[in-house]
């Protein structure tokens, strides 16, 4: 009797061990993918490009070789309280996401649903047999996905700042007082979920739309398995957006594309910089919605929520729980006002 019980217990333990092992192997593989997968912003190749660009930039602005090299790596920021908070968030968020991922709606599910819906909304798929050249269809799809994705990023980002309860979650990202490329993943998990839904919606819609009208002719121009336009953005030093190297462009270019310095303005504690430059890659959306701000090379920026930011903002409580507490308090206040 005891032997059987022991046997069962052993069985359960082995099973649990197996589950845990597979979970952790997936966890580590996901973490390493952050740097080894060219579809990720932090791919080592892009980081290298960013470092080289930063070095050339700093060296050209008159700094000596050694100083340029040290600054280009951003070494002094790696162990700041803010960066350590970034790392903690990345490690914990990955666990949360591994558990949540099966519950999230996929772009394929959205694409399929939209594709089916289109059969009811459009009269026919006769355009499948059109004579448009394939290169034109592929170019159109590549550009369409890029534009729609960039616009959706801009718009959602703007909402994250303007809608109070969304801002509570987005504050986690803005409480970074020193920035490294990894700050791109300093995100509240709720925001992470919202972002992944946005991505699924945009991509699912684009896929459904183009497959509906062009079927098998649709494809994506890619380099290293990434949309060629996104690849160009990443190679051109996208990682410097979250850094202390304030690379700026000509004014005309900053009207079209957000420079690293412009994104750093978005993180600035100066009140006049608040709610500026929401854009991810393109600056035109900000230009249209009057939230555009050119870089200010003459000003040294300070990053964070505000100039008096407490160091407790880097605590796990502030990063994860404060948003919920604040939203709850706001709701209570709102209900109290209503009842008075």
């Amino acid at each position: 009797m005891q032997a059987t019980a022991l046997f069962h217990l052993l069985g359960i333990l082995t099973w649990q061990l197996l589950v845990m092992t597979s979970f952790f192997s997936e966890y580590w593989s996901d973490l390493s993918q952050l740097f080894s997968n060219s579809q990720q912003r932090l791919y080592f190749g892009y980081l290298l490009c960013a470092a080289i660009i930063a070095f050339i930039w700093l060296n050209n602005t008159g700094q000596n070789l050694k100083h340029s090299l040290i600054q280009a790596t951003g070494f002094k920021h790696w162990f700041s309280q803010s960066a350590l908070a970034d790392y903690k968030l990345i490690l914990i968020n990955k666990i949360i996401f591994l558990l949540m991922l099966p519950l999230l709606v996929t772009k394929l599910a959205i694409a399929t649903a939209m594709f089916e819906l289109m059969h009811q909304s459009f009269s026919q798929r006769s355009s499948i047999d059109n004579d448009l050249p394939v290169w034109l269809i592929i170019s159109a799809f590549t550009l369409f996905v890029f534009l729609l994705d960039d616009f959706a990023r801009f718009y959602l980002h703007k909402l994250m700042h303007q809608i109070p309860w969304l801002w509570e979650f987005h504050k986690t990202h803005h409480s970074a007082t020193s920035m490294t490329p990894l700050t791109v993943l300093r995100t509240h998990p709720i925001e992470g979920i919202i972002f992944s839904l946005r991505s699924a919606l945009v991509q699912g819609f684009s896929i459904a739309l183009f497959i509906y009208f062009f079927a098998g002719k649709v494809d994506l121009y890619t380099v290293l398995q990434v949309n060629v336009l996104v690849f160009a953005f990443n190679v051109a030093g996208a990682n410097l957006r979250h850094s202390h190297v304030a690379i700026y462009y000509w004014r005309w270019l900053e009207t079209i594309i957000i420079s690293p310095a412009q994104h750093q303005i978005h993180h600035s504690t100066q009140p006049r910089h608040y709610n500026k430059n929401y854009g991810a890659i393109l600056a035109i959306w900000d230009k249209i919605s009057s939230s555009h701000c050119y870089s200010e090379p003459e000003h040294k920026l300070q990053f964070g929520l505000n100039r008096m930011q407490a160091s407790s903002e880097h605590n796990l409580y502030a990063l994860y729980l404060a948003a919920f507490i604040n939203i709850f308090a706001d709701c209570k206040r709102f209900i109290r006002q209503l009842s008075q």
Binding site: T112, E116, F195, H263
Partner: protein, 472 residues
């Protein structure tokens, strides 16, 4: 001189040995020549393999399909009687109407009786209710209904109701008779320990034991050549098409002719080959190998009752056969849903552009007939498919959506179709997408011919992993 002769003799001998050795090593086992193991057998048979009755039914089915396309659009009692002869009667001297000899491809038999006497199809059809067809009928009744309609159809077609009878009759017979008999009877209850035991002849005086013959009958219904394991899918497929270039490979006894009992591909074996030709699946060889392995196991029992261990191993082979056979039917259903999808959209476009859609409409009905027949067959295994079957039948309907956006919804007391208004062609195309999704979700399909959703998943994969939570 002598030495010369000796050396050449030795060379020839060793070459011959080598040749025979190499043919032995490259040739896979065939489903034939298993010895007689019945204890105290008195007859003169050298082998216990026998499935002539099943082959006779395959040939009845092929011939019936041929007849189903011979109507002239009016009542035709003569044609109906002829069809009945192949479907329900057991008449002597029925001629084989298909497969028949053609130039460079000679068939050994010309008469059904040369294969087996007194066989019919109606007596072996699935006895449960056929939910995919209106009228709450058994499979034999549905087929009899279709046979009657076919006899009055226009070369097999009823354009008013969207029916292609040769397709409907053929595809449903394959399921309701061959598939049902094999997987719901022979590979199911007849493998039980106390049914047709292996230590008794199947019937008094037979050269085969109970289990040997049960297994042979199931194999016969699958309809594949005895030497399938030595054929590739394309050849097995070409044999059924009567292609000259397949003759040599198919003619395993090298008599220059195709022997219908052992050298022809029929029914679902043909569809397995057709699917396998695409290179993504290996249904034909997998099923045939399981049949041969099972038959070897029974033969090895040497006329003794199968032990529990032997029987459970045999059930394992039966499971492989059943699972893969079902997949063959599901793959075909999936593929034709894809065809009907494209046809419906093209038809809609053609109508909107005021084109002549007659040919397109015929193709659409043809594909729907195949789809309907296969989807009904999928439900004849005796296994309850539950909600999947309900959805399948509703989405596919009792007829395709016709040009006035109507569909057959029932049969009246006189056996006439009743139509009601239904969805439009676009919506019907969408239903075909849902059929494909339903099948993909519920069966482990690999070939997925004419997959209308494949473009979506390919492009979604290309757009990346989706774990993207980057923030700006």
């Amino acid at each position: 001189m002598k030495l010369n002769k000796l050396t050449s003799a030795m060379a020839i001998a060793s070459l011959a040995t080598l040749a025979s050795f190499s043919t032995q090593t490259i040739s896979a086992p065939i489903y034939a020549d298993f010895p007689v193991t019945v204890k105290d057998y008195q007859g003169d048979k050298k082998t216990s393999v026998s499935y002539g009755g099943q082959i006779a039914r395959h040939v009845l089915h092929n011939s019936l399909k041929k007849l189903a396309g011979q109507g002239n659009g009016a009542e035709n009692p003569e044609l109906l009687a002829k069809m009945q002869s192949y479907f329900a009667n057991k008449d002597a001297n029925r001629a084989i109407l298909d497969p028949v000899s053609k130039e460079g491809f000679t068939i050994s038999e010309t008469d059904i009786d040369q294969l087996s006497k007194g066989k019919n199809l109606a007596g072996k059809a699935y006895e449960g209710a056929v939910n995919g067809w209106p009228g709450n009928m058994t499979a034999a009744e549905v087929l009899a209904f279709m046979v009657e309609k076919a006899s009055a159809a226009d070369a097999g077609f009823d354009f008013n109701n969207g029916m292609d009878y040769p397709q409907l009759i053929s595809k449903f017979t394959m399921g309701a008779v061959f598939y049902n008999q094999a997987v719901d009877s022979y590979l199911d209850e007849k493998l039980a320990a106390d049914v047709k035991p292996n230590d008794q002849p199947y019937k008094k005086g037979a050269a085969y034991t109970g289990k040997e013959h049960v297994w042979d009958e199931a194999f016969g219904y699958f309809g594949t050549p005895a030497n399938t394991l030595n054929l590739d899918a394309a050849t097995a497929h070409a044999i059924a098409k009567g292609k000259k270039e397949a003759l040599t490979a198919a003619d395993s006894n090298a008599n220059g002719k195709i022997d219908l009992a052992t050298e022809m591909t029929y029914a679902h074996a043909y569809y397995a080959a057709s699917t396998d030709k695409g290179g993504k699946t290996n249904y034909l060889q997998t099923i045939t190998k399981a049949f041969i392995d099972g038959r070897q196991l029974i033969t090895d029992a040497n006329g003794e009752k199968l032990s529990d261990a032997q029987r459970s191993q045999l059930l394992g082979h039966a499971d492989i056969i059943k699972t893969n056979w079902e997949l063959v039917i599901a793959e075909a259903t999936f593929k034709y849903a894809g065809s009907v999808y494209s046809d419906a959209l093209k038809l809609q476009a053609g109508i909107e552009n005021n084109e002549d859609v007659k040919a397109l409409f015929k193709k659409y009905i043809h594909h729907w007939g195949e789809l309907k027949g296969f989807s009904m067959s999928l439900q004849t295994s005796g296994k309850d498919l539950g909600g999947v079957a309900v959805s399948l039948n509703r989405l596919i309907g009792y007829s395709p959506v016709l040009l006035g956006n109507t569909q057959v919804t029932g049969i009246d007391a006189k056996g006439n179709y009743q139509q009601s208004s239904s969805v439009d062609l676009n919506e019907f195309a969408l239903q075909m997408l849902k059929v494909q999704q339903l099948l993909a979700d519920n069966f482990a399909l690999k070939a997925r011919g004419k997959d209308q959703l494949a473009n979506l998943s390919a492009l979604a994969a290309k757009l990346g992993s989706g774990k993207n939570t980057e923030n700006d």
